[in-house]
Symmetry: C2
Subunit: 507 residues, 2 copies
Amino acid sequence: MGASMTMAEASIEQWGVFEAGLAGPQEGNPFTEVELAATFTQGDRAVKVRGFYDGQGVYKVRFMPDSPGEWRYRTESNRPSLDGRCGEFRCCAPSAGNHGPVRVAQTFHFAHADGTPYRPLGTTCYMWTQAPADRQAQTLQTLRGSPFNKLRMCVLPKRGYVPREDSATAYPFEGRPQAWDFTRPVPAWFANFERCVAELGKLGVEADVILYHPYDEGVLGLDRIHGADEDRYVRYLVARLAAYRNVWWSLANEYDFIETKTEADWDRLFQIIQAEDPYGHLRSIHNGRVLYNCTLPWVTHASLQIGSAVADFGRAELLRDAYRKPVIYDEVKYEGALGKRWGNLTAEELVCRFWFGTIGGTYVTHGEVVGSSRATPAWTGLGGELRGQSPPRLAFLRAVLDGAPGPIEPIDKWQDLRTAGVAGKYYLVYFGREAPTEWAFELPEAGLTEGQTFRAEVLDTWNMTVQPVEGVFSLRAIGEYRFADAAGRRIPLPGRPYVAVRITRAD
Amino acid sequence: MGASMTMAEASIEQWGVFEAGLAGPQEGNPFTEVELAATFTQGDRAVKVRGFYDGQGVYKVRFMPDSPGEWRYRTESNRPSLDGRCGEFRCCAPSAGNHGPVRVAQTFHFAHADGTPYRPLGTTCYMWTQAPADRQAQTLQTLRGSPFNKLRMCVLPKRGYVPREDSATAYPFEGRPQAWDFTRPVPAWFANFERCVAELGKLGVEADVILYHPYDEGVLGLDRIHGADEDRYVRYLVARLAAYRNVWWSLANEYDFIETKTEADWDRLFQIIQAEDPYGHLRSIHNGRVLYNCTLPWVTHASLQIGSAVADFGRAELLRDAYRKPVIYDEVKYEGALGKRWGNLTAEELVCRFWFGTIGGTYVTHGEVVGSSRATPAWTGLGGELRGQSPPRLAFLRAVLDGAPGPIEPIDKWQDLRTAGVAGKYYLVYFGREAPTEWAFELPEAGLTEGQTFRAEVLDTWNMTVQPVEGVFSLRAIGEYRFADAAGRRIPLPGRPYVAVRITRAD
């Protein structure tokens, strides 16, 4: 992804990044004074994108073609040297592993543009793009060997930030702490960020890009962007990043803890992104204590910080009902042993929360602060290496989900809180912290008829074992709402917590 | 409330029903052809209300004055005999027990217009207004001796309805089953309904008036009102009922099970009510399996059917967060022993659900189908007498709530799921189905400082006992998030389920 060039490339893969570079004026303030856009056309279709100034007299226009064949473009600008420039390129088939951007699918789930299911199993490295280059490389190496396919990451640094490079590219804007010139972004800062996004894309990891956070509290002052500066910052980000297929827009982390913005500001920023991003990348906002109204049309999915919602049965699903959109519990507390209660989950508890979320038809995101200190920063801060015990168990969960015939849905919501799957075909029955020694084979009636047969396996989600149960189970109705095994068979269970039964059709 | 008269009464209490009766044309169809409205003025204020045809050449205009003093009115009509009619009346102070209509207060709660807190403790008698007169009287008598202060009740009958009176007033519209003339409401039908509303008002019971339900399925065909007929039905209801201070508008029971209407229909009906009701009575809609978007501006509070949301800790509150409005779990399954799972709760379980709802900062509504048969219809169908074991326990809960210094709020939401109350002043710690034998005195930190002292009582919410705990508890901080008794005292508990500890400030 993201090859840079002077004018145009001969061939760009579908959902790849086409980039046109144009020479233009350097005088004055090119960020505020020069307007540049380009309209890309294919047959009857026309897609207009904003260009951006990349410094040193170079302007760029990026575009993500979503269908193969010839594309043409023509620029518009208030400067003659950038206006009416034309070009064309050929869009070829996507390469292996390129399934296009992720969209909402089946109301509560996700799929890539080519229809490939996407099941979020995210993690969090808020500031990894600001780490030294060797640590960035280590983060990517770690992700390569991990089950994670989404990464939450901030654009802006926070208090305590140590610039990783020379002062010319140390910050996202010209100026100095507390005295920024928000009219002059530093292109090298954003180029580093987008290189990180592109590297994630190569790994098949979605970049959940966080535009704002409350962790500076005015110390650096980079969080004090307002009004026209703010709108320009957001448009600049979209112009640079939207052509990367793996971008998601997360307006903020803990938005309601950012005291310098109102709800109307967030509404406006959402609408700017909606208007500027021609590809409709996913849009969300992450809460502190107050939930944003995720039913609003510019929110594509709920990105929630509510650990307790995935800490027991029957909770995760309720917010899905309220929003009628996919729900990702993007912060559920982190694996670690900090004095702070947001960072003191055992690995067992964190893995259990992923399963409660899964059984509720929702998704959960990982974070860890295991063994963190100044010398060994936490994964969830600066990236690096994973030290927790949960990731292998989350890889086990991912393998389970990848083997399911469809998205995991509650089968009899508000009634049977531990059974989910694909009605009539596939079930996961999860027991959480309970440690049963047996389970009477029984399922909610949706999609079932008498005589259907199923096989079962016992999954130990912590010890990562799959134990097939001998024989098949043949259904008979019991009452109006349930089916059981006709012979009344019970499945022996190991008497340990974190066990599930997986049930698949045998006929 | 609701005295009828020819022209005007000398004096109407604040939030009482003023009614002006006017003689007008009988020819043609007065319901569709005659327009009537009146504007009531007091000083600079003007409130316009729709009038309605009440049959036999009588037209009426009703008005609920919300401030004392002189009020004048003037009618407008497309018929000369009804146009430009003027009158005046004096509004006097409200009588004892009249606190005005109920409004949303403190985001998640309710209060009467005069500021008196209103804590919903509702019950359900869907079809009581259609029962014979002696049964209606019995229902009112039962309510008088009950803890309930809200009643869910349908306007329209359902399949199996047995008309309670002579055929001329047996149905809400002229015509016959499957062949209704929806342009001609039967005033006597609605007069009976509004008399029932008025009687509830005298008892201090809010009438949660349900405009539609899915329980006819076209058999009578009264549920097949559409288009202009539907809008006229809703406007007629509002014109007749809105002046009754205890009216709430519930657009439907199980709205999503009504297959002949779309979401856009419900949106439109909400907006009609919002436009027609000058008093802004509470507006909600009750779901089957799909939740209506309760964040929409015309919804004042969420009226939910989700029994599981109040069947354990940590669930009820989540939907309050999503909606940022009061939440009433208006159907949580009924006390009874029916084969249907919606009617098979033990009294213990139903009472427990009220407590889970309370601890979540929400409200719960009662229903019972105890001992029901054709000979002894269920309370929740036709009213009559309560036969369940839950109502006395709900009276106990109501006494607890009435004794609290403010609305019950989760104190440390998403963290401490069993503690609620008024931070720094008053706490309820509920143990649900657990049966602990002791509890270490410990509270979330909000509003607390070291050295503050509290008293405690042990409440057995099922056996309805209050046992004071000897001595006072003096606070010391334990870690960042909690306070405990400085002496580490533990409170002995009876080892039974359904126990709570009530904690009040002693200093």
